[in-house]
Each structure stands twice: as C-alpha cells, then as structure tokens.
Point group: C2
C-alpha cells in the first residue's frame, strides 16, 4: 500500500475552498497588532494570541533589532553545544524571578517545550496523567512518553473528582506527573487549580501547568494561573511560550533548579534543536519588562474582552462564559461556522473558525480573542458586524 | 514514588563541572561567525552549523531587520490560523524552486519538522523504517508514530542490504516510509542514497531524506543529498532546517503538492505551533538567495574542511574520513575527550565534545565543523593547537 494514498484521497480542504469559505493559511501582508493587512485590505484582527500587542511595541522592536545586529540572525546550534548566548541566560534569570521559581529553561518553541519536559521525566513505568482537553503540544508530549512505554491516562476535563479517581488507581511505587493547561486554549476556561493541587499532594504526584494562554492574562500582574490561585509555590513546573504575550517564538519551563538541571542534560527537544534566535529572546525579554513595569495592561486586556463577551451575549449569541481574552461564539455546525467566518472576513473582521474534528461538531465555533491594544472603535466594529451577520443569518433576533 | 527522584539523583554534570572540564551551555557574548566571544575572550569557533557564516552577512542582517520593522517581532499564531505572512509563502515558493519540488511547507524548527511529517503520515498499521543512526528529531518523530500504534523498525546504519531485509518482511498491504539523514550529523557520513532509493522503489516504500546538514554542503550548488546522487526526482520528501546554512530558526519539507497539502491540514506540529518569525523567514530567504547566486561558496566550505581533515589525519589523529564540513576526531574515552576539549578552549578554540551515552564510549570524539568564512589563519591556528595538545597528551607523536 502506498503510504501517500491518504494524501491523494484527502479532498475536504479543496471542497471548502471551492465553496469560497476556506478560512485557513490566509496571508497577512502587514501586522500592526489590532489591524492587519490581508489581500491589500485592512482587517481588524480578533483572533490573535498577541494579547498585549507588543510585537510592534517600539521597545520590543528595538530590542529585537539590536540583538540581531549584535549576535546575528541565528545561533546555528543547540543550547547544549554552540547555541547559548548570554542573552538566553539573562532571560532565564528574569523569567525565574518574575515567576518566583528557582530556575527557568528556554526551548525553541512553546510546542516543543511540553515534549522537552514530559517524555524526559515520565519514563517506562511512570505515569503521565493529563486533562483530556489539554493543548496539542501536551498531547504530543504524552504520545512521546507512550512511545517510550510510559503509562498515559487521561481524566475528564477539569474534573478534580475524576483526577482523584485516576490517581487512586496508580500504584504508589510509580512516578506520577499531572499535566493541565492553566487557561484552556479553545475555550479560555481556567483550570480548577486549587482542587488539582490538593489531589496531586494527596497522591504524591507532581504538577505541570501550561501557562501559554495565562501569562500576561491572569494572576497578579499577569503572572499566570498559579498566581491567580495564590498557589505559586505549590505548582511544581510552569511552562509557557514566547509567541503570545511575550511577542516572539520560543518556550520555557520554570521550576526547581535540580529539575531544570536534569532537563538541561536529558531533554532531546532541547539538546538536539537550535536555540531561540537572538531577536526572539531579546523581544521576549523586552515584552516581559513592559509587562512587569506596566501591570495595568493586564486590566485593559481583561476589560476589552469583557466588553465584547457581554455585548455578544446580550445580543443573543451563544458565548462561552469566562474571564480570559478568549471569547468563543458557538455556532454548533461546521458549514454555518465557515459561512459566518466568510461574512465577517468580507466585512473586515478576522476571527478563527474551529470546526470538527478539532472540536465536536456541536461546539463548532468562531473563536475570537482580544488584545490590550484593541481600541473601542475596533471592539465596537466587531460587535456591530457580529450583530448584522447574526441577524442576517437568523442566528440572533 | 516521586517522579522527580531521577532529577535529585543526577550528579554527572556536577562532577564534570567540579573537574573543571564541563563543555556545555557555554555562553557566547558576541558572534562574528568564525570568531566568537566567550568570557570576554575571542575564541575561534570550530563547532558551529553556521556553514556559510551567513548569520552576520550584511544582506541577511538587513533582511531580518527590515522584516522585523514591517511585520513585528513575532506572528502570535500558527500558520493555520493567524500566523501566515506573505513572507512564509514566498520562501516556500523559492525553496520549492531551488529544490525542484512541487511544494514546500515551513515548520517553526527543524526539530519539529520530522514529527510534523512522520506521525502525520505513518499511522496505525503503517511502518516507519529508520536508519539506526538517524538524528534525534527523526527519532522523536518515530517515537510519536509508535505512540499512535504505527510500527517502527530500524535498519543497520547506512546498510542497504539490511534495509532490503527489513522491507522484505513488511506486508504489501502496509504503508511504508523510509527515513534517513542525508548527511549524518555526528560523523558527517553521506547516506548511500542510490541503494536506498532502489530498495524503496523495489518494495513500494516512500522515502524521506533529512538534509539538515546537506543543504549548502553537498549536491549541485549545495542542493543536498538527492542532487549529489542525481536523484532529485526520486526522493519523495526532502526535509531541512533554517538553523544551519540558512542562518536562522525553522524547518521545511519539500515534496508533491498533494502531500504538502495533506500535511498542512493534519500535522499537529504545524497546526498547533506559532509560525517562524518574520526575521527568521527573511533571513533564511536572504541566505538562500546568496547560496543560489554564489555557488562557489560551497566549494570554499568543502576545501576548508578538507584542509583540516587532511592535516589532522597526517598528524596521526584518528579522524573519520569524509567529504563534508563535519570532521570528527575520535579520542575513544570520555575523560580524555573532556580534558582535550578544555585544553582547546583554554587555547582559544571551541569544538564540540560528544561523549557517551550520546555516542558509544569508544567513539567519544571532538566533533569539529567548518565554515566557508573560516580564513586560513583560523584553520592554521586550529591545526596548530590540535597538534600541540595532541603531543602534550601523548595522543600523537
């Protein structure tokens, strides 16, 4: 059998394209944060993870430009061998201080970070215990752990009772790591961290929290999920990314120095991957400094999202409740979602269409997300256009 | 059992540090290509993958700076959703043309590229057939495929007969993907591509070649392994990285349009990871243009490495034969390798120490590698210092 046959018979994308409603891989020609240029036209971006709009902040730009001039455009090696700059170490120290952890280790992408941690710590005979709705990067880490004969079990989404049920069945003699998103990426829901921490302690499990969508978003001054619950010192490892609040590309894990030291010397995803570029590290550092010195930005981000969430809910849309910048509008049917997406796009609004099998068909949604740099004029326009299309399509009255 | 106990009991790195010969995670303070600054001191770099020294080339720098100014410091989303720039598409087209393939897909790191391909194509019931010395990124992809119940088999390193033996045992009804490094990263050895291609065709397997260390290094104008053998159209997929010849951070796969289209819509490592930064894409594009317009650079790279390989061999070192810029000097014992490394470093030469378990103890080596931008004064100094230390330590006469 030709292993490519699955590729030749895949036609769904062609069909959605032929229907004129294909929402993916749209090329952006200019990016100013809340407004981007696509197909020569200005479009309001309501689907980015650029939560603080810092990718074009003068201080962040300047830091990236200076680092490129000083160190060049890439490191040409892994952190382990020839790809460590003083810049990497400085950012690790700053992040550790900001997150109140002993040490931090950078990875080249957020996606790679989970697999830099999970299969490195969770070996044959150990257990990875994962929320069933965790991000794909944790799933990839879990699959790798399975591939080296670790045990992989999932608990019901954000269900502490089910987590306890799972933990209770694992032998005392096995190592146990529980992994959860801090803020779940599709829905914006916050993990029930108090219950999860208690369950971990009760059964001797260690806890990894993915704060990709939490840093800059929740917690004291945007310090993330553990901070939101006042459990900073109870969460064993916090991982995160540079590609959201921190405005570039890369990832990190924060924890005890001995754990970080072990990962540094055993993690394939670290040792065999070129390190984050000078520009990306410098940009992340500048973004972190801005977040640290201007914590009021976190409030602005929150109130921007609240404004849209409240308005769309009041208009009659099925909006998931929440308190993060992720505001999902459930349409519950793929074709409806693609069509609504296209009408929004034609009216100058860009959001993300999440359809099956990525989400269950009844959760097909327009996942919208907001930035601290959205102005009222942007938010009002988003609300207005949603209302017009919702009425036209008979989704709201 | 505490899953962290393996971390608390890991002491080898501390011991090597205490002995003063720890060679890893050395922080570089400035990077000029052949010469870097470490601890305030200028050191000749003889261990980088920056094969053409283009990370500081004026055109590459300029491209990265301009892209940062135009698009910002990051894309804040995946290619699939909000992270595609016209720049990504332009580089994909240029790479496809350069490699004479229908289409190219970019990934955020080279490391992630293999797992963006392998478990996406090799599903339950399919086979991934892998050279036993393939790079860790392919191994990670294989482990992920195993984790989703694909079959994983390995063949003896670069041994076409053994590959045939393995392929013969796989049922006709199963999909088969063979994966090999083009240039093996530790030794610089070139894959026996003619035999591998023949075996794949005979048994209906598709072939993936990792040209991370081949692009810019071998083949017509640096077009890689397939080109080196005149088999451009016979290799189904060529993957590679931006972090070596192309001077930034990212990866790519080149192949038939239908295969690339399938990967675009099914690859977790693509869909759930933020896209390569504007600076990295622009830098890679500029580096590719330089490689394309100045093919004589490939010859210079080759002759630089040959000069050192020949000199060290003649001096009596155990140097692996080869024709790539990777020149491994086998010392065959870890402590000896660490000690030699330290003496080189103290004399202003930086190379990579590869010890067990990364390589078998009897292959403990100083892995040196060269750039097109090394000048004769750098190469002569490397040869001179190797000679002095080799004599002092009684390794050569």
């Amino acid at each position: 059998m030709d292993i490519f046959s699955k590729c030749y018979s895949f036609t769904r994308a062609d069909e959605v394209k032929a229907a004129g409603v294909y929402p993916y891989f749209r090329a952006i020609e200019q990016n100013e944060g809340p407004v981007v240029k696509i197909g020569g036209r200005e479009v309001i971006m309501a689907g980015s993870n650029n939560y603080h709009g810092l990718t074009t902040h003068p201080k962040v730009l300047e830091a990236a430009l200076e680092a490129t001039k000083k160190y060049g455009t890439g490191c040409s090696g892994s952190r382990y061998l020839t790809g460590t700059l003083d810049l990497h170490i400085k950012l690790e120290e700053k992040l550790a201080k900001f997150l109140n952890k002993e040490a931090v280790l950078l990875f080249s992408t957020g996606y790679q970070t989970a697999q830099g941690i999970i299969p490195t710590l969770v070996n044959k005979g150990d257990y990875i215990i994962s929320d069933k709705d965790n991000h794909a990067s944790i799933v990839a880490g879990n699959i790798m752990a399975k591939g080296i004969f670790a045990e992989h079990v999932r608990y019901k989404h954000n269900d502490v009772e089910d987590l306890e049920r799972v933990l209770k069945q694992i032998p005392d003699s096995a190592g146990k790591l529980v992994a959860t998103d801090g803020v779940f990426s599709t829905t914006g829901e916050i993990a029930a961290l108090d219950g999860i921490v208690k369950a971990c302690k009760k059964y001797g499990a260690r806890l990894l929290v993915d704060d990709a969508h939490s840093l800059g978003v929740i917690g004291k001054g945007g310090r993330g999920t553990a901070s939101e619950f006042g459990l900073d010192s109870e969460v064993d490892m916090i991982m995160g990314t540079f590609s959201k609040t921190l405005s570039s590309l890369g990832g990190y894990v924060a924890g005890e120095e001995r754990i970080i030291n072990f990962l540094k010397h055993h993690s394939s995803a670290l040792i065999f991957s070129a390190s984050p570029t000078p520009a990306s590290v410098a940009a992340a550092m500048a973004a972190l400094e801005i977040l640290d010195s201007e914590p009021e930005r976190v409030q602005r981000l929150s109130s921007n999202a609240s404004k849209v969430r409240k308005a769309l809910t009041e208009m009659g849309f099925h909006v998931l409740e929440g308190s993060t910048p992720i505001v999902p509008v459930i349409l519950g049917e793929d074709t409806l979602t693609f069509t609504f997406w296209r009408k929004l796009f034609d009216n100058g609004i860009f959001v993300n269409a999440f359809v099956s099998p990525g989400v269950p068909q009844n959760l097909s949604m327009l996942r919208t997300s907001y930035m601290a740099t959205h102005e009222d004029k942007h938010l009002n326009r988003i609300i207005e256009v949603f209302g017009e299309i919702g009425k036209e399509m008979g989704i709201i009255k």
